[in-house]
Subunit: 206 residues, 2 copies
Amino acid sequence: MGNYPSKLLSNAVEQFSTLPGIGRRTALRLVLHLLKKEKEDVNLFGQSFIDLRNNITYCQSCHNISDTPTCDICSNSNRDSSIICVVEDVRDVMAIENTQLFKGKYHVLGGIISPMDGIGPNDLNIDSLIANVNKGEIKEVIMALSATMEGDTTNFYIYKKLKSFDVNLSTIARGVAIGDELEYADEITLGRSIQNRIPFEQTFSS
Amino acid sequence: MGNYPSKLLSNAVEQFSTLPGIGRRTALRLVLHLLKKEKEDVNLFGQSFIDLRNNITYCQSCHNISDTPTCDICSNSNRDSSIICVVEDVRDVMAIENTQLFKGKYHVLGGIISPMDGIGPNDLNIDSLIANVNKGEIKEVIMALSATMEGDTTNFYIYKKLKSFDVNLSTIARGVAIGDELEYADEITLGRSIQNRIPFEQTFSS
C-alpha cells in the first residue's frame, strides 16, 4: 500500500504500526474501524492511553503496577512475606495469581536482561530485591521467569547476587506441560523433566 | 487472565480489546509496550486517533477520505471523468491506484450492504452515485467490490438502480489469481474463470 489520501489518516496508521505485531495493513484496518465509531468513543479510546502513561504508578514495595502506593497483594497481611516470587511483569503476577497456589508476595523486575534489546541489569528492579533480602526476613526467593535464554541469564545474574545471603533460591519447575503429548515435547524440556523427576506421591498434591 | 491491579491499566486494555482481532491478552501486551515508551510518544499516539476522528473530512465528489474538500484524484483533470470505479473504502482506492492501470475516477460507498452488521443501502453513498450518473456524463460504471456475498448483494442493488440509465455497467473479473496453482483454486472461482474465459491475445495486454 502506498500513498494515503490524508495526513490525519497516515499519521494514525503510522502510530498504530509502531505497536509490536501490527503492520501497516492491519493498522489501516484498525483506523478505519475507529472512523466508524462515535467521536466520544474514539476520544475515550485515545485518552485512555494518554491517561495511563501520564498517571501510572507502581507499588513501592513490589514494583507491580498499582493505583495505590502499596498494592493489594503487598498490603495483604494474610500473605507470607517470607516467600518472594520474582517475575518479569504484571502479566506474570496475574497468571500466577490465577493459579491460586501461591500465597507469598511478588517482586516485579520490570523486564528481563536482554542485550539484544539493550536491557541490562541496571534497567531492572534488582537492587531493591537485594536490599529486601538483605533485611533478613525473606526465607525463600522463587525465580519465575520465562524459560528462555534471557530468563536464564537473568536467573543466573540474580543467583550470583543472592547466593551469599542466607536465603533459599529456587526456580519454577521446567517440564512437559500438562496436557502435552510426550512425543511432541522438545528434547531439552524432556531431558530436564527426567533429570528433575519428582516422587510419584507429589504429583497428586496441589 | 482475571483482575487487573489498576483501573488505568484495565481501562486501557478494555479500549484496545474493542478493536477487531485484538483479544485481552494481546491488548495487555500492547498496553505494556506503550508503558515503556516516553510520555510524549504516548501522547502523540493517543492524540492521533482523537484528531483523526474529530477532524476527518471526505471528498465531496467521490467520498474518499481527503484533507481537502475535493480529493487529488477528483481534482486531477488528466483523469477520465466518464469512467467511475465503485469501491467499498479507501483501501480499495489505494489498492487500485497501486496497479497504475485505472485512469478514471472513483466512487467510495463507505461500506457494503451487510444485513448481519445492520448496514443497509441507506447507510452507503449510493444516492449520490445515482445522481452523478443521472447527469449523463458518465459512460461506464465499474463495480470493484469484494467477491463475497455482501459484495454481490451490493452489486445487484446498484445494478437495479442504474440499469435504466444509458451507462455501461461492468464488474471486475473474477478468476484464478495470477501465481495461483490451478489445483488449489476453489470450484466456484475455477468455474467462473472458464465461463468468462478471454481471447488468448488479451492475456498479454495490460
